[in-house]
Symmetry: C2
Subunit: 429 residues, 2 copies
C-alpha cells in the first residue's frame, strides 16, 4: 500500500518572491524514499482562511505535512488554523512550554513571554520535538488524515523529519504501509536537449513493449544542460527491469553520466577519491560556484583542496601566472587565458593538483561585444597530459549563464576523467 501526501507551505514571503520555497522538495524526497507519493504542494499566505482552506481541500490523502507559521509573531497562524480545521481549541501545552524553555536555556537566552506563543497547539495534538530551533511541531489526526505541522526554517524542518517517519509508522504500518520506496531507475544525462533524449529512448520503450497498455511511468526533467530520465519499474519483473536498464544505457551512450540521484559534482568527487586524484578550480565569471559545488559534498577535502576566484585580470596574471601580454592580446575571455587558468591553478595552490579547470566568460548584463557577446564563456581542463578547451555561448540572464557555465565546467572535468577510463556510471548512492 502506497501512502498519498499533500504538503502545505505557509508564508506571504513564498508568494511575493521574498523566499524560494525549498521545504516541499526536501519533504518530497524524504517521503518518496519511504513509499509516500506527494500528490500536491501548495503555498499559501499567512492567513487563517487560506490555511484552513488548504487543509480542507487536502482530501484524498493520508498525510498532510504543513511547514511554517509556528513562530512567535502575530502572523504565525498554523496552530490556530489546524485547530479550526479540526474543530478544537488551541491551548498552551505544558510539555511544549518546557520544550521552548529548554531550547532557550540551551542557547543561554532568557524566556521572553512572546516565545510562549510557540507552545500553543491544538488540543489533542502530540508534540514533535525540534532539536535545532525553538518552536516545537505537532501532529493531529483530522478526519482520518494525519496532519503534521513543522517549522518553516529548513534546518529545523529537516531535523524533525525522522519524527514524522516514526509517526507514519505508528499510524500506517497497521494499515499495510511498508515504508519501502517504489522501485525506479534514474538516468542522469548531460549535454543533449530533452528532445534528443526522447529520440534516443522512445524506440527502446517501444521495442520492449513498454508503451501503451503495458506502459511504465516515464518522467523527464530538464535543468540547464542536464536531463534526468526517471522510469518507474515497480510493475516490471526483475529481469525485465535489468534488460531495460541495459538497453537505455546503450541508447544514451556518452550522454549518460550516472545512474541514481548523485549529481555531477558527487560523481567527480567519487571518481577522484577512488583514484587518489585532486582537482583545483580557477574561476572568473562563475565566481566560486564550481568550488561551492565541490565543497557542498561531505568529505570532499580528500580530492578538492581549493581554488582561485580570479575575477580581476590582475589575479589571473599574478596568482595564475598568465602573462600580461596574453591577457592584452587575446583578452580575458579567450582560449589561451582559459587554458592558462586551468594549468596555472594546478601549480598555484600547493604545486600538485592533478586536474585544474579554468572558466572565464562574460556573465553580463554588461561587458559584451560583437565578437564576444554576453554569454560567451571559455572553459579549459588540464591534467598535465592533456588540455581540453571549449567555447560556449550561453543564453539567459546573469544567473542562468553562471549556472550553465558551472555545469559545463563540471562536465568537462568529468569527460576528462572518463577519457582516462577512470569514471563509472554505476550507482554510488
Amino acid at each position: 500500500m502506497g501512502l498519498r501526501a499533500e504538503i502545505i507551505c505557509i508564508g506571504d514571503e513564498l508568494l511575493t518572491g521574498g523566499t524560494v520555497e525549498t521545504n516541499s522538495a526536501e519533504i518530497g524526497r524524504f517521503l518518496r524514499r519511504r513509499g509516500v507519493a506527494v500528490r500536491r504542494a501548495v503555498s499559501v499566505a499567512d492567513s487563517l482562511a487560506a490555511i484552513v482552506g488548504a487543509l480542507r481541500e487536502a482530501t484524498e490523502v493520508d498525510l498532510c505535512v504543513i511547514t511554517g507559521g509556528l513562530g512567535p509573531t502575530s502572523d504565525d497562524l498554523t496552530s490556530s488554523a489546524v485547530a479550526k480545521a479540526a474543530g478544537v481549541d488551541c491551548g498552551r501545552l505544558a510539555e511544549a512550554v518546557a520544550e521552548v524553555e529548554a531550547a532557550l536555556a540551551r542557547r543561554g537566552h532568557e524566556l521572553d513571554p512572546i516565545q510562549l506563543r510557540q507552545a500553543e497547539v491544538p488540543v489533542g495534538a502530540a508534540l514533535i520535538l525540534n532539536p535545532v530551533g525553538i518552536a516545537p511541531g505537532f501532529a493531529l489526526e483530522i478526519e482520518g488524515r494525519l496532519v503534521v505541522a513543522l517549522p518553516g526554517v529548513p534546518a529545523e524542518m529537516r531535523s524533525m523529519l525522522d519524527s514524522v517517519a516514526e509517526l507514519c509508522a505508528e499510524h500506517f504500518v497497521k494499515k499495510g504501509w511498508s515504508g519501502e520506496p517504489r522501485a525506479r531507475q534514474i538516468f542522469r544525462c548531460f549535454g543533449l536537449r530533452e528532445a534528443a533524449i526522447v529520440a534516443l529512448v522512445e524506440p527502446v520503450f517501444a521495442e520492449l513493449g513498454l508503451v501503451g497498455e503495458a506502459s511504465v511511468g516515464i518522467h523527464y526533467r530538464a535543468a540547464g544542460p542536464e536531463v534526468d530520465l526517471t522510469v518507474d519499474v515497480e510493475e516490471l519483473e526483475i529481469a525485465d527491469a535489468a534488460a531495460l536498464e541495459a538497453r537505455l544505457r546503450e541508447a544514451l551512450g556518452e550522454a549518460l553520466y550516472g545512474l541514481g540521484e548523485a549529481g555531477l559534482a558527487v560523481r567527480i568527487a567519487e571518481c577522484l577519491k577512488a583514484h587518489g586524484l585532486t582537482l583545483a578550480t580557477a574561476e572568473s565569471c562563475t565566481g566560486g560556484r564550481v568550488a561551492a559545488a565541490m565543497t557542498g559534498i561531505a568529505g570532499v577535502s580528500a580530492c578538492f583542496h581549493g581554488g582561485i576566484v580570479a575575477y580581476h585580470n590582475g589575479i589571473k596574471e599574478k596568482v595564475l601566472g598568465i602573462p600580461a601580454e596574453v591577457l592584452e592580446t587575446h583578452g580575458a575571455v579567450s582560449e589561451p587565458v582559459a587554458r592558462g587558468m586551468a594549468d596555472g591553478v594546478r601549480a598555484a595552490l600547493e604545486g600538485h593538483a592533478d586536474l585544474g579547470v579554468g572558466i572565464t566568460g562574460i556573465a553580463g548584463p554588461g561587458g559584451g561585444s560583437e565578437a564576444k557577446p554576453v554569454g560567451t564563456v571559455d572553459i579549459a581542463v588540464s591534467d598535465g597530459e592533456a588540455s581540453h578547451y571549449r567555447r560556449f555561448l550561453f543564453r539567459g540572464d546573469r544567473s542562468a549563464i553562471q549556472r550553465d557555465a558551472t555545469a559545463w565546467a563540471l562536465w568537462m572535468v568529468f569527460q576528462r576523467l572518463r577519457e582516462r577510463g577512470l569514471s563509472s556510471v554505476d550507482l554510488v548512492d
Copy 2:
C-alpha cells in the same frame, strides 16, 4: 483595483525532490511589483487530471500562470490540460510551428518531428514568444480568467514575463488595473531572533495605533540569521508612513542593515563602490559561497577582484602566508588562522584589496571534536586598520552551516564598513 493570481507549477520532479521549484517565487516578485497579489502557488504532477483539477480549483482569481509541461516529451501535458479545462481542442498552430523552426534554426539544429509537439496549443490561444528556448507559451481566457502557460525552465520563463505584463495590460487596464505595486516598507535585519525583532517593533505599532481596528499588514520572514519585516502601508497617509518608518528605524537600531529588497551582498557592493574600496575573500568551510554571493551582483568587478578557496591547510600556508607552526599549534579552525586568512588574502591576490574576510570552520558531518564540534566557525575581517574576529557555533546540517557562515561573514564585512561610517540603510533599489 488589485488583481489576484494563482500560480500552477507542473512537474513530478517538484514533488519528489528532484527540483526545487523557483518559478513561483520569481513570478510572485514580478507580479507583486505590478500590483498583482498571488493568493496561492500549487505544484502538481505531470498528470492530466491533476493539472485540470488545479485549473478548476483556481477560482476567485483574475490571472492564472502555469509553468512547465510545454516540452516535447510524453509527460508534457499542459496544452492538453488547458484545452480540456477550456472545453476546446488542441491543434498545431502554424505560427507556433514557425517559432519552433526558427528557434531551432538559430541554434543551427535541424527540425526533429518530436519538436513539433511543442507547437500544439489549445484552439483560440494566443502565442507567447520564447526568446531563450524552443517551446512557445500561450494565453487563453477561460471563464473570465486569463490563463497563461509558460515553460518550466527558469531562464525561459523569466524571458517571457514582460509578455505576460503586456497581456495583463490588454486584459485588465480597461477594468481599472493600474499596474502599480501596493505601497510597502521592507526592513532588513540581521543577527536578532525573530522574537527579539517582535519585541522591538510591536510597541511601535501599538504606540502609533496601528494594531486592532486600524491595523496595517505586518509580515515577518526569518531565514537563518536574517529577519525581514514587511509592512503594508498602502492604507496610511504619507506622513504617517514616514513617521512609522522613522520609529521602526530607531527601534531596530543596529540590527537594521537596509530598507528595501537589497540583500547584504548588494549593500556591501554599493558601499564599497561608493567609497572606491575592494574586498577579497579567503574561504575554507564556505568553499566559495561568499565569493559566489558577491559575483552574483552585476557590475561587482569594480569592488570585488577575487578570492581564495583555501580548503586545504597547504593553501592557507602557501597562498595566504599562514605559518605552518600557527596551523599546527592552533589548528586550522582558530582565531589566528581566521585573522591570518583575512589579512593574507588582502595581499595574496594583487597586493591591494582594502578589506579581507577569512572564514574557517567545521561544516561536518565529520571533523568535529569536543573542543571544536561540527558547526564551529571562525570568521575575521581585516582592513589594515583593524581586525575583527568572532567564533560561531552554528546548528543544522552541512548546507545550513555553510549558509549561516556565509551570511555572518557578509555581516561582519558590513559591520566593519558601518563602523567606519561608510554604510547606509537607505534604499538602493
